[in-house]
Assembly symmetry: C2
Homo-oligomer: 98 residues x 2
């Protein structure tokens, strides 16, 4: 789960995420997405739900929030790049954001 993603895994795991609003981060082996909600309460509600899964999986995002927007960056510091955990958390966040 925490090996760096192989080229094959990138095709199968990352491609659907990149089609769904995630993008590679310039200069880093990381993915980023901006979620927009109706207001702060909705945005922070999303963060709270995501935080519980992040803690449960011991895999934490880099993220920022300004009012109704949440910008999430995912990478795996232990492998200095993307792992399956990032894809798993990204999929979960997409589900939680509805």
């Amino acid at each position: 789960m925490t090996d760096k993603l192989s080229d094959t895994a990138r095709d199968t795991m990352l491609a659907p995420l990149l089609d769904g609003g995630w993008a590679m981060v310039e200069g880093r082996d990381a993915i980023r997405k901006t979620y927009k909600f109706t207001d702060f309460a909705e945005a922070f509600g999303f963060m709270t739900r995501a935080a519980i899964w992040a803690e449960k999986w011991d895999h934490h995002p880099e993220w920022s929030n300004v009012y109704n927007r949440v910008v999430v960056t995912l990478t795996t510091h232990d492998v200095d790049g993307l792992s399956a955990l990032d894809a798993k958390l990204a999929r979960k966040m997409d589900t939680l954001a509805g």
Copy 2:
């Protein structure tokens, strides 16, 4: 509460915050502080408590979190600078981080 801080108010309201770890943001009339906690759960717990007050007061921070760190920037967009609301939320956050 949402007027831009006068010079006098800056002396009385901002000075104690700047002594307590807040700093002016370069190029903006805003203040910023980095809080460090023992782990993610403590950091996000702080954010959750602060979010409730921010929503209650309808005054929201710009903030980011990476694992045990939370960086908070406060300013009042309506007045294009610092207001008493920023000082009030900064003091509350310091208490909550306690």
